[in-house]
Symmetry: C2
Subunit: 191 residues, 2 copies
Amino acid sequence: MNLLKEKIVREGKVFPGDILKVDGFLNHRIDCELMHAIGKEFTELFAGEKITKILTIESSGIAVACFPAYEMKVPLLFAKKGKTKNQSKEVYTSKVMSYTHATVYDISVSKEYLTAEDRVLILDDFLATGEALRGLIDLVKQAGATLVGCGAVIEKVYQNGGNQLREQGIRVESLAKVAALTDDGKVVFAE
Amino acid sequence: MNLLKEKIVREGKVFPGDILKVDGFLNHRIDCELMHAIGKEFTELFAGEKITKILTIESSGIAVACFPAYEMKVPLLFAKKGKTKNQSKEVYTSKVMSYTHATVYDISVSKEYLTAEDRVLILDDFLATGEALRGLIDLVKQAGATLVGCGAVIEKVYQNGGNQLREQGIRVESLAKVAALTDDGKVVFAE
């Protein structure tokens, strides 16, 4: 998606420690015109898949998933992070390891809103090691729902999370694939 | 906003302890067609105000603020919750008391993305005691930005947060004003 790649080149910032900071348009200040275009892109990519629900994870995934959900006319469900209180029977939970913060956290969705009848598209802002997607996929499995595929706005392909999921037969679509971040602060795309 | 009130009556659930649960369409599973309509409503309400930025707070505020930001063609900025690490010079922070969780938490936005030139509309899903809005207003003040007003999807008017802000001369618009939750589980609207 060229519009997105241009935006990453123009406004993304590369920091030591393999950090690509895109909080100017993706995960703090959000460019909703870009999100709208991203929504159209995901809708075209997954056309014909009879998706009934989009699943994402708070917080940065929400803005990414809103416009595709609107375009596809399906509800958006976001998994909540953190310990769930007195509702363990009512939710599906999974664990996600955060490499950024060196912690493990719980994610959960209400059983009421994710069912065996659902055909689910999982969307998120970043795909690196794939930990968040694995947690979300686990929730889909627990519900007995059908996983149609996963979509990420930016994939760091060299962290291999996306390819590990593809090797399991899961369809994973990323709108910008980053092959490397260079020492002089450049973003190299995979294709 | 009739579409919203009908949705609250049809799908909202009233629980003891003054709880109006709307997680079926507003803050867990999200009805993005409704969010789109809400976006149009806020855009009309604040037309002519030359808004340059919409400010909200993670997580539930994000879905509410995405569509108005798209309609108004302005960036959406969401305040982050929780302790800010090694970036205190780079962010404005404020404190918010959560009555639901009986805690005080920090909120922050990057100084880079909220400036004295901004004309800010603050949006959120719920307005009850007004604590979250007060924290967000504090961030706007710290930045020296102009506060155009605040918008909430649902206001519990009897918790008085909205009126306290209005008494300070702040424009506060709510799309559904709840006057009371009855013991037999009904939602009474203020107008």
